[in-house]
Symmetry: C2
Subunit: 238 residues, 2 copies
DNA sequence: GGTGACAGAGGGTCTAGACCACCCCTAGAG
DNA sequence: CTCTAGGGGTGGTCTAGACCCTCTGTCACC
């Protein structure tokens, strides 16, 4: 019945799950999925097996069960706190992100940076300071420290526009970030770089980014508050 | 006749699940949970039933299965973008939250508030403006608009310290919030209330909070940046 | 002392039924 | 015409087994 001979494992509940997923993908929210007993017929499996398949899709948030009525495509779940790079963030705002490197060199980690990166003070870090532009106007000063051990030869390679892309290419795209957000006045240097008056209010985001369990980046970004509003979505379940 | 007298709900898989949860709660990560067959013995149920119970805890992220070895308490999963109230937030920081109402009255919604609350301009809203203190010092000015339709008699009741508690009592605890975070300078009134110099940098959080699908609250909170840093955790799980 | 086979225990998959509660629609009663 | 009682379909719960693969510790053998 199934031409799947090359797969060492042909798990029935996986087959059912993926079949239903393919049906459901792209369907409007609220449209019905096949009933469990119908899938039992179609695949010739036990109902418990079908339920195992459907359970997976339900707990994935793709389907929604309604006792007595059926199983339906769930309303797409709202995404909580998506982690995005500056480039992606600007794209989402319909702006073109560009960068200019102000400083890029190997340094020894100070105590604060070392602690945040989970390394020993004095260990090598990459210090990368950039101006970030959106639609050709200054948006942000980003001062980042990267764990040198995880990124051999990083400074030799051509500096990419997107740090996240460069990390992703090494399998180190951050999957987790802790941001501390505060507000401050631009000092003389920041004001000059951001092309605002000294003393202007700026938004400061201190980030610690991890790829899996490994801290990769710690940074301090100073945003022009007149051009940038940080959007955050919060929820209360997994 | 269908009145099931003494058994409101005695679901076996729930019994097993809660039994295991109680065992596991407070246990160190990595410590073993009872084996499935042991639970089958203890509760005298089928193994599928035990698996249903364990599946729930696994997909909840509480347990972790390791084929051939057993089921173990999982490392607590990092929480992404938890939605908390001011009171809870201050508690987490080890500070005592207090409030002082500056204004509490019924108003007609303006266009911006109406749009955010999903109602018609001119509809009744509750306008509640409060000073928020942490450890007896000013922390924040919170200016909130609530959907009056959802909260009948809200102004008549004694104003609680925690808005979230009051909403929770009506089954309207926000489950979702969209925050727009920016930075500004305190104007004369804000500076006076927050007891800072006019022109000081403040952190401004504009929030739209929903309970399920219903927008309940829209607010603008002005925080003293010298006392308050906003913490946000971001992830990228699907 | 090292080592490999083996048994026991653990989770993973799957069956072929059963009965329940619930929802909705419809046909018959009024 | 309205209202209500069924009936059929749905998911929810549960059983009592079966066989599979993987892991780990033990114990006899070298």
């Amino acid at each position: 019945m199934d031409e799947v001979a090359a797969t060492p494992r042909s798990l029935k509940h996986v087959a059912v799950r993926e079949y239903v997923r393919s049906l459901v993908e792209g369907a409007d929210a609220g449209s019905p999925a096949p009933s469990e007993r119908e899938l039992v017929q179609r695949f010739g499996v036990a109902r418990m097996t079908v339920r195992q398949a459907m359970d997976a899709l339900v707990s994935e948030g793709l389907l929604e069960r309604m006792p007595g009525r059926g199983t339906f495509v769930a309303r797409p779940r709202r995404r909580v706190g998506r982690l995005t790079s500056f480039t992606e963030d600007m794209e989402r705002r319909g702006m073109l992100a560009e960068s200019q490197t102000l400083l890029a060199r190997r340094e020894q980690a100070g105590p604060g940076v070392a602690k945040a990166l989970g390394i020993t003070p004095g260990d090598a870090v990459i210090h990368w300071k950039r101006m970030r532009y959106a639609d050709n106007a200054p948006m942000c000063i980003e001062d980042a420290y990267l764990n040198e051990v995880l990124l051999p030869g990083f400074l030799q390679a051509a500096m990419p526009t997107s740090l996240f892309d460069a990390l992703a290419a090494r399998g180190l795209r951050p999957t987790w970030a802790e941001d501390a957000i505060t507000s401050d006045k631009a000092n003389a240097e920041e004001a000059n770089l951001l092309q605002v008056q000294p003393g202007t209010s700026v938004l400061v985001v201190a980030r610690r980014a991890l790829a899996g369990e490994k801290p990769v980046e710690v940074s301090r970004s100073v945003y022009r508050a007149d051009r940038f509003t940080l959007w955050v979505q919060l929820g209360e379940e997994s």
